[in-house]
């Protein structure tokens, strides 16, 4: 008899516990209802990135003058600039440029020091922090 009552007591305890967990869950979902939606309805609304936002680095091949400043300012000399001197036009000709974004820490030093960025209008920046669209 006592054994049975103990079992009933344990079962009741478990039930109360379960009810409390359900109550906790309900309070979480109820609380979420008053929060603002995180949706950005893209074509109508756009996220404005903050001033110091650093996105993916955007590189324009045609504008690069192969000065290798970006390699020097990079903390780990990451950008690979492969160029060849063109004797006729007496200019460096860029053959290949790459940054391994698996290693890049997005410090944006290269963007800051890039002479094209500095000398030209923001629209024509060679390195431009791209706005990540999420």
């Amino acid at each position: 008899m006592l054994n049975f009552l103990n079992k009933v007591g344990d079962y009741a305890k478990e039930t109360v516990q379960a009810a409390r967990y359900i109550g906790q869950g309900l309070s979480v979902t109820f609380d979420h209802m008053q929060r603002r939606p995180v949706t950005v309805q893209y074509p109508y609304e756009k996220l404005i990135p903050s001033e110091r936002f650093r996105g993916r680095i955007h590189f324009e091949f045609d504008k690069c003058i192969s000065c290798e400043v970006c390699v020097r300012v990079c903390p780990i000399n990451l950008p690979v600039v492969d160029w060849e001197f063109n004797k006729e036009s007496k200019k460096k000709q860029l053959k290949h440029y790459s940054i391994d974004f698996g290693v890049c820490i997005f410090c944006a030093n290269c963007v800051e020091y890039c002479p094209i960025t500095v000398s030209q209008l923001p629209r024509n920046m060679n390195f431009l922090p791209m706005i990540a669209m999420n």
Binding site: T15, I22, G25, L26, V28, T29, F30, H32, M33, R35, R36, P37, V38, T39, Q41
Partner: protein, 372 residues
């Protein structure tokens, strides 16, 4: 207790005064409340679909439907129209007759149960003596339709879904009936009108929630299982069974299942409000209000106000339960089929019996508070 407005009586009397025989007058009256209730039930479905989508969106911090009408209120109408115009496919190897009858059998009892939903003293289609029992009986017809649909689709997922629906409905019918029985024991009547009458008089304090808290929880869990709402939506568990018995359905036949599930949800919510939250009873007793204002209870304006307040109160209470159901949907994960049956047979059934016993004991001990 003052009876309030009786539309039926006055309507029939007016017709008789116009020179119509009594039978014809009654026959003219009969389709009116039915149409009103069917339209009301359909509107209730549209509203609850919209609420479901909006509240779900809010819980998940989304926006939800927005472009169909202001705040997306017309989204449900748009979806319904789309379903009407979709091609109606009957699978080649399905049994066309059972396949067609299945959804109809699911929808009909849901709408038929509105027969006993009271919105006021005389504001219901018919005050049947067996009232609430009629609802329980009708709601056990639906699983036959589900089983039929599942079996006729000639699809293993459909069949499994149909079988699960039948098992679930049958096993949750019993604790549901026990929860209702405790209420019936207290009000000495199966009629929904009498059940509300017994709760009214003391405003919010007289409602059955205070006397039947266990019963309310029991009723609500079983009602969710009967409606196949989310913690118990095993028959259509999309991760396991594609869509259960609805797998092969498209167009308006699917629409019928969809409508039936929401009609059932609203119906269960209204009945929860009627059984436990005092139906049309206002939180403050209206007799008191009338005496404060110095208005006679038989004043026609006062009666119209009372009736509309009653309807509003019923709907508000019902939609509170709809809201709880939607919130529960996003709170609780789906139970497994064995957990479902365990919960039904090993927990809800004994608790229901104990609740019934307790109610009987309390009724004997305190007849004034528990309806002697």
């Amino acid at each position: 207790m003052n009876p309030g407005i009786d539309l039926q009586e006055s309507f029939i009397e007016t017709l008789i005064d116009l020179g119509l025989p009594v039978g014809a007058a009654k026959a003219i009256w009969m389709p009116l409340p039915m149409t009103v209730i069917i339209i009301g039930a359909t509107l209730g479905v549209l509203v609850s679909v919209w609420l479901e989508r909006k509240i779900s969106a809010a819980v998940q911090q989304r926006i939800g439907p927005e472009y169909a009408g202001p705040l997306g209120v017309l989204q449900a109408v748009a979806d319904g129209l789309k379903l009407v115009f979709k091609e109606d496919i009957v699978p080649a190897k399905a049994d066309p007759w059972l396949f067609t009858i299945g959804p109809v059998i699911v929808v009909l009892p849901a709408f038929l149960s509105y027969l006993i939903v009271p919105f006021g003293q005389n504001l219901l289609i018919s005050n049947v003596g067996i009232g609430i029992f009629l609802w329980i009986a009708l709601s056990s017809v639906a699983p036959i339709g589900l089983l039929m649909a599942g079996y006729a689709s000639n699809n293993k997922y459909s069949l499994l879904g149909g079988l699960r629906a039948a098992a679930q409905s049958i096993s949750y019918e019993i604790p549901l009936a026990l929860a209702v029985l405790a209420i019936v024991m207290m009000s000495n009547s199966l009629s929904t009108i009498d059940i509300v009458e017994q709760q009214s008089g003391y405003g919010i304090l007289g409602w059955n929630v205070w006397r039947q808290p266990i019963g309310l929880v029991l009723f609500w869990i079983c009602a969710l299982a009967e409606c196949e709402r989310l913690p118990f939506d095993l028959p259509e568990a999309e991760e396991e069974l594609v869509a259960g018995y609805q797998t092969e359905y498209s167009g308006m036949r699917f629409g019928l299942f969809y409508v039936a599930s929401y009609v059932n949800l609203v119906l269960s919510s209204v009945l929860a409000a009627v059984l436990y939250f005092g139906g049309w009873d206002f939180p403050i007793p209206l007799d008191l209000v009338s005496s404060w204002l110095g208005v006679s209870e038989t004043n026609p304006t006062f009666q119209v106000v009372t009736a509309s307040l009653g309807i509003t109160a019923t709907l508000l209470k019902a939609y509170f339960f709809v809201f709880v159901a939607i919130l529960l949907r996003w709170t609780l994960p789906r139970v497994r089929i064995d957990q479902l049956l365990d919960l039904g047979w090993k927990f809800l059934l004994p608790v229901g019996l104990v609740n019934l016993l307790l109610t009987a004991g309390l009724k004997l001990a305190f007849p004034f508070a528990f309806g002697g």
